[in-house]
């Protein structure tokens, strides 16, 4: 690969605080200029193998094994896909609201984890801080109360998931056409007791994020910034909706590329490119082609794309953020953090609304209709839009499965951010320091990628960095154990 080219190659392998087996390669020419950057996925995942040959009703349970980081997203997206297969066009209010509660619980805990555990060490201590400090324990030491709230926010979200999905591993709450349980009064009251505290902590987390960013606003708006298209689902009226909606894509300037696209039509609008050096595909908008059609997904794209948010506190925050760009899309990678915290607040508000809705105690849980052989659905997972597409045979077995996961949708943007940061920070440097390497990782982490889906056997090497010259010799090596 790049060792054939004159110059030296920097390899970050794998990326820390990013899930799984990712690797960054930065090839410098003989003058030290960045010649090429790549963000690799070095393990073939074969998602579709999990699903093909299985009965469609097994999918909501099986697909959770694809990812130990966001099993709820796969669980719900598979359930929505099988809704289409069983002809359940409209769920009962109890089923839909239980699923939404599960999803907002998932988003709350996922965004809390990312901000406090993965992102805040960088924001609080700086990109050059010692690696020993740049972690959650460092945050605890610096601000124990905030860190403790982060842990308890996570716990609250996880408990919501447990109450709605049934259990942590292989949750069975969502099933084709509905849900298999409602929320009891006892369960509801447990969550209601703490929801105002959770809401307050979400506000505080957002304020902390804003305070840090505003202190260095120009820096954060320019760090790893690049123009891109933005893709997400929105409600029919343009409102932010993390659970269901129609697909919208905007340009970097905010012009609509397409809007109100239904799930079953996704292949008319989205295509995927395979590149020989990565196992992860590169999706793009068909009408714009491979070169110009790639897009961002996730919190930043969602906030950029929606017209408004239907919860008051989050909507106020959205307006404040969007005023920075005069209402046009923000194309700064670090704005992911701010938008992620707006969504965390939105999720807390939604959870409160749902807990006060008596539909959660309803007993009509399942909808049935005319069976179809094809199902396509999407959901806004914490990291971005997630697509599931199944086709079944006469025996109800899935014979075709196509999944586009959030991190795959953000593949090209993550490559772009590595490229931008390498050019901004590594150009001409004679020594590759921890701080410089972390700068690259900070950019990738903004997208909260989930690369490999959860093999956590003991003994994996967390980080290995090599600098290789044009002769293929290792001239610099850095490992974190």
């Amino acid at each position: 690969m790049s060792t054939k080219t004159a110059g030296r190659k920097i390899v970050i392998n794998p990326v820390t605080r990013v899930e799984g087996h990712g690797k960054v390669t930065i090839l410098l020419d003989e003058k030290g200029n960045v010649q090429q950057t790549r963000f690799h996925i070095i393990e073939f995942r074969g998602f579709e193998r999990f699903v093909q040959g299985r009965f469609y009703w097994e999918a909501p349970t099986i697909v959770q094994r694809l990812c130990g980081i966001c099993p709820v997203s796969h669980h719900l997206c598979a359930a929505k896909t099988t809704d289409m297969i069983v002809g359940a066009k409209t769920l009962t209010p109890t089923a839909e609201k239980m699923r939404r509660l599960m999803h907002y619980g998932q988003t709350l805990q996922s965004h809390a984890l990312h901000f406090f555990h993965l992102c805040s060490p960088d924001l609080l201590f700086g990109f050059d801080a010692p690696v020993e400090q740049r972690n959650v324990i460092g945050v605890i030491k610096a601000d124990p109360e905030t860190a403790k709230k982060a842990v308890l926010l996570r716990k609250y979200g996880q408990e919501i998931i447990k109450a709605t999905a049934g259990k942590k591993v292989h949750g069975t709450g969502a099933i084709p056409g509905g849900i298999n349980k409602n929320l009891t009064i006892e369960e509801r009251d447990i969550f209601l007791k703490d929801i105002d505290t959770i809401l307050q902590w979400s506000i505080e987390a957002l304020e902390l994020c804003k305070k840090i960013v505003k202190e260095k606003l120009e820096f954060f708006l320019n760090f790893g910034a690049f123009d891109s298209n933005h893709l997400s689902i929105v409600r029919k009226d343009g409102c932010l909706d993390l659970y269901d909606g129609l697909l919208r894509a905007k340009t970097a300037d905010g012009e609509i590329i397409f809007d109100m696209v239904k799930p079953e039509d996704y292949l008319d609008y989205i295509a995927e490119e395979v590149r020989p050096w990565s196992y992860m595909k590169f999706p793009f908008i068909r009408s714009l082609g491979k070169e110009k059609g790639w897009y961002r997904v996730g919190p930043l794209a969602r906030i950029n794309n929606c017209d408004f948010i239907d919860t008051p506190l989050a909507e106020k925050e959205r307006q404040e953020l969007m005023s920075l760009s005069g209402g046009k899309p923000i194309n700064a990678s670090m704005a992911y953090h701010w938008t992620r915290m707006i969504e965390m607040l939105h999720s807390a508000e939604k959870i409160k609304d749902l807990l006060n809705d008596s539909d959660l105690q309803g007993t009509n849980l399942i909808t049935q209709g005319t069976k179809q052989k094809r199902g396509v659905a999407w959901i806004e997972a914490p990291r971005g839009t997630l697509f599931h597409h199944y086709e079944i045979n006469d025996n109800d077995q899935i014979v075709l499965a196509n999944l586009i996961v959030s991190t795959t949708n953000n593949n090209e943007p993550m490559n772009q951010v590595v490229n931008v940061l390498a050019k901004d920070y590594l150009q001409g440097k004679s020594e590759i320091t921890e701080g410089l390497l972390n700068t690259i990782e900070v950019g990738i982490r903004a997208y909260d990628p989930c690369l490999s889906c959860a093999t956590h056997a003991l003994g994996q090497m967390p980080l290995h960095v090599q600098v290789i010259n044009h002769k293929g010799e290792v001239v610099n090596e850095l490992s974190r154990k």
């Binding site: 074969g46 980081i69 993965l118 020993e132 982060a150 842990v151 292989h170 093999t455 056997a457 967390p462």
Partner: protein
Amino acid sequence: MNLVENDKILIFGYGNPGRHDDALGSLFIQRVQQSNFKNVYADADYQLNIELGAELTNYDKVIFVDALREGEEPFCLTRVFPSKNITFTTHSINAESILAICEEYFGSAPETWMLGIKGYDFTIGEGITDKSQKNLEIAWQYLNKILNQQRRREHGTKESYSYY
């Protein structure tokens, strides 16, 4: 490992059952749950998460169970201590860090052990390998013996059992 009478014990297995031998942790937990030991609580997840730091304080002893990628067959039982010098942080978190969070928040972390059961295949797919199945059996027999020993003590038997 010495288990004292009336110790409240958490056995927590983790790993992804969709990754062949990475299922060892959750399979082990199924055994524990079927055995119904007094004062022994079992739970499983795909991975360790930071909120466990708030949970551990409720227990006297904790045993994490995970698949072992590199290490001795059939299993390895090691004491785990809090580590504030975290350099391995992903979406998941390691046991040492969980203990450190527990210690930072609550002043002390429970005595904790890691039971690593040797696995061989961590690629995508269901079912564990024959070799790791044997390792699971041996590890289970070992811990089962310890837990049974504790149960007998609770019924008046004075003998004790220790290992490592």
